[in-house]
Symmetry: C2
Subunit: 234 residues, 2 copies
Amino acid sequence: MITFVLASASPSRLRILEQAGVDPLVRPSRVDEDALQAGLPENTPHVRVVEELARAKATDVLEREGATLASEARAAGADTLVVVGCDSMLLVDGQLEGKPHTYDRAMERWRRLRGRHGVLLTGHAMLVADLGDARAAGGDDDDVVVVRYSGADTSTTTVHFGAPSDADLDVYLRTGEPLECAGAFTIESLGGWFIDRIEGDPSSVIGLSLPLLRRLLEDAGLHAHSLWRPELRS
Amino acid sequence: MITFVLASASPSRLRILEQAGVDPLVRPSRVDEDALQAGLPENTPHVRVVEELARAKATDVLEREGATLASEARAAGADTLVVVGCDSMLLVDGQLEGKPHTYDRAMERWRRLRGRHGVLLTGHAMLVADLGDARAAGGDDDDVVVVRYSGADTSTTTVHFGAPSDADLDVYLRTGEPLECAGAFTIESLGGWFIDRIEGDPSSVIGLSLPLLRRLLEDAGLHAHSLWRPELRS
């Protein structure tokens, strides 16, 4: 049995997992994203920036909370601990854009974006620890968490923005929904009205790519369905 | 104020509207889809088939329940009644595929589909009635529902299927989730693990295209945000 940990505070990521049959433990990272991004070499490719941030988040959670998570997981009968971190940014005009935070900045971005397209990059990092191995390796030392698999990849999706009126935008942005979202938009909720089409994986645009996660799981020798809640597998 | 009626029993369509800020009245149609499709001329283009089915559903609901809906809407203070019908089918190898209904048929389709792509067609029809006009035209006869706008369009999205193992497929199909879905797949829930990418509008794949609905609304002189629940517009 697997204990699955989402190293993110994003309600969108949690919801996509829940809708896809997974009830993760939510353990947000404490990574300073701006500082980490600023510390990367200047020519770091965009797909690597989001991957590095995702990796930093998963690693942070495993380092800080791994021992607690492992003993919780063992108590629940799990033999495997999986920690996933993600990071999303919108690439527009060669620039990576994160969260707008304010109405004014979001409006400014939407006026620039509407009728155009951007590329949503979502980096994923997955760490897998075998809890059985740790017990074998450490005797009765439950604190040992041995990472047996570490994978990362980035999902790249082109997003074609519609051309909402200023009136629609004003109502949308005043709800506050997109202010804490990469690129100042959502696609699964109110923002869905204003995205005309995408080329890529829809779940990656919400913040976590299910098919990419499936490939990382398979790479680690695990089935996607082994994360699903028990009543879906009976 | 608008009273918005969804002429569909689909929980996916209801959920996408609710997530997009709309609480519709749900009034499923009683159209015999198979009989209606069989009655269309043989050379009817695929995009027209789903459009005709969508139109039949919206029309059926307005004809059977229009008077009741109009008086409910007026009582709630609405001056406009909007009825929307939808129909989705998957086009594979030149054939339109509806719901598989059984595990065996779904498994047969998935074994054929995995690693390939299909085209998801979602037809939409929208009827708009001005309740104020009806009252003016009919005096105190509240039963009169005058349709002032009738629009229809089809959303076309290419869906690239992943290649889930037989074990993953078995667990997925045994949940029953995709058995009553066009093309034997879902994208917003468990099926999201097994769809690698799309080219088109994600909401159309769930069953109702929000940007297409926005364009029909604008065509009828209405704003998308005027459907949103009041607390989102304050």
